[in-house]
Symmetry: C2
Subunit: 319 residues, 2 copies
DNA sequence: CTGAAAGCGCTTACAG
DNA sequence: CTGAAAGCGCTTACAG
């Protein structure tokens, strides 16, 4: 039997007789044969390796570890998912250069939480590599992405808070250009407008998340017309909001409801535990891997894929 | 100029004249030339790729995200460190088979927090790949590893607690066969014996960390001769211990001191914040990468490398 | 110090 | 449906 036949049998090329293929597969299994990655890559021009770029962490040391359970779940699932498609997953450092990327021989990349016109997405494009982002890059129209339906989640959270008795719901947003933050704000604004509710929007910085959220909460609760519910967007704000409420003499959920737009350790282990929507980073990773593989094999249009978020109702909203 | 010369110049082989080398380097820079990874790998037999295996996560969904900031810091630093050595870092799924590993064309692997005679370490060895573990595999004598000096850390923590007034220090251990747990216990026992202090050891399970730690704490504090300090080993126990103390009517640090053997979100953001020792996962990752590269290039004996932990003194011990 | 040849192990493109 | 040849882009081993 010629080498070609073995190669084609193992790679599922149609030209091989089924019985030949079965025989080859059996022997390969017995011998534990695996095609040499480099030989295959050299000849075929693809690597079967995907790159994963996680968001750049803030400079503040104390801050960097704060929202990481989301990314850890995502990265782990991306590795498992890539392997199930016979691909490997390369973890890229947050700061990569163009020549780094060239030398890596990747087939494509996944960029998580891109900023506005994220330069790391540009890098992939310049090198001619397909790229998929998790969450939309607000500065780009044509990039393939996986995301949650932020508008629907926002509505669901607002309705839950209202159902639990909230009249004046404040929104606490991060000061970043992430798409989901902008979309949440838009959905919030149209919701309060439609219902004739007051619009109360506060901002906190991601870098000193807890402190900044604490200060924002303190300010919110000191107002004459202070809110009776806070919709917190970022995981790292939750502790600050809880402390702010406590120091302002508010009990949760007694005199203040709190809900979060993304689930996290902070929400689950809050004091009290905070109602939050699970964005399922595992599924986002799976979808991103599949979408990227489609793009690598020349697959068509960049239809975004959406992952459905599910609520975890907890004590902070009286559940 | 022959192709060989370019190759040798770029790879720092001694045979090339310095001026030739400089010329080659300059042109390569201008052209953004990077040697093809596959061609290089095929001929030279090495991949310049390292594998990273993080601990298998528990099955319980709520549990898996609990101690992840440590691993996230570690993984990020491993990627950066690998890249600084012109290596790439492959994130491996927790369950890899032998043939997976063969097909990956890795040069070596790092296994984090190996269990007793960890099968994933065995896998690397069977495939003939160098491996370094972060923390020692208690079931192996000869494996290269990076670790903290657990005995010294234990002593430092016990002394700090004593200095802050503790007389009866309990130790709360996980029920796992990790080396650091066993070493902490040994150091604790010799310390209490030397000083004639009572030996109070409790165990909690990693799977339902918070609940299990809560129950253990409740039991500890219900004893007639209940401890006035608890030394908590695992990050995920901290919340349970804090709740247990609160429900037992103990104020921290007023009537109970708490210190943790590893820093984490739980410690930093505890209520009150908990004194903890930072094991510097970033440095552990750097050391592991360097150690692995040494082993790959045939470097000598498997002398373990130690990373120095540093204390973060916080309110839970009256700081 | 530099070069010409061989070859790593596959897959592709061309024949039959 | 199967095969013989060429070649992917480097590095190694051998010459000079």
């Amino acid at each position: 039997m010629a080498i070609v036949t073995v190669s084609d049998a193992l790679n599922g090329k149609g030209r091989v007789d089924p019985s030949t293929r079965a025989r080859v597969a059996e022997v390969a299994r017995q011998l534990g044969y695996q095609a040499n990655r480099h030989a295959r890559g050299l000849r075929s021009g693809h690597s079967r390796a995907l790159g994963l770029v996680l968001p750049v962490r803030g400079d503040a040391r104390s801050d960097e570890a704060l929202s990481l359970d989301f990314y850890m779940r995502l990265a782990g699932a991306a590795a498992v998912s890539a392997f199930s498609h016979q691909q490997s997953l390369m973890l890229l450092p947050p700061k990569i250069g163009r020549s780094d990327l060239r030398g890596l021989a990747l087939d494509g990349g996944i960029v998580v939480d891109p900023r506005h016109a994220d330069p790391r997405v540009t890098l992939f494009e310049e090198v001619g590599l397909p790229v998929v982002t998790i969450e939309r890059d607000p500065g780009r129209a044509d990039t393939a992405y996986v995301a949650c339906r932020t508008g629907e989640i926002t509505q669901a959270i607002l309705e839950h808070l209202e159902q639990q008795g909230a009249q004046r719901i404040a929104l606490l947003l991060p000061r970043v250009e992430w798409a989901w933050a902008a979309e949440t704000l838009a959905a919030y604004e149209s919701w309060v407008t439609e219902r004739g509710r007051p619009r109360v929007v506060a901002r906190a910085s991601m870098l000193h998340g807890e402190r900044s959220a604490y200060e924002a909460t303190t300010r919110l609760l000191a107002r004459r017309d202070s809110p009776d519910a806070i919709f917190v967007l970022a995981a790292r704000f939750i502790r600050g909001v809880l402390r702010g409420a406590e120091d302002a003499g508010r009990t949760v959920p007694g005199s203040l409801l709190i809900a979060a737009g993304v689930d996290s350790v902070h929400a689950r282990e809050g004091h009290p535990p905070v109602t939050a929507w699970d964005l399922h980073p595992e599924r986002q990773a799976e979808e991103a891997v599949e979408m990227l593989l489609e793009r690598i094999s020349g697959g068509g249009a960049a239809q975004p894929r959406f992952v459905v978020a599910t609520p975890h109702l907890r004590a902070s909203t009286g559940c």
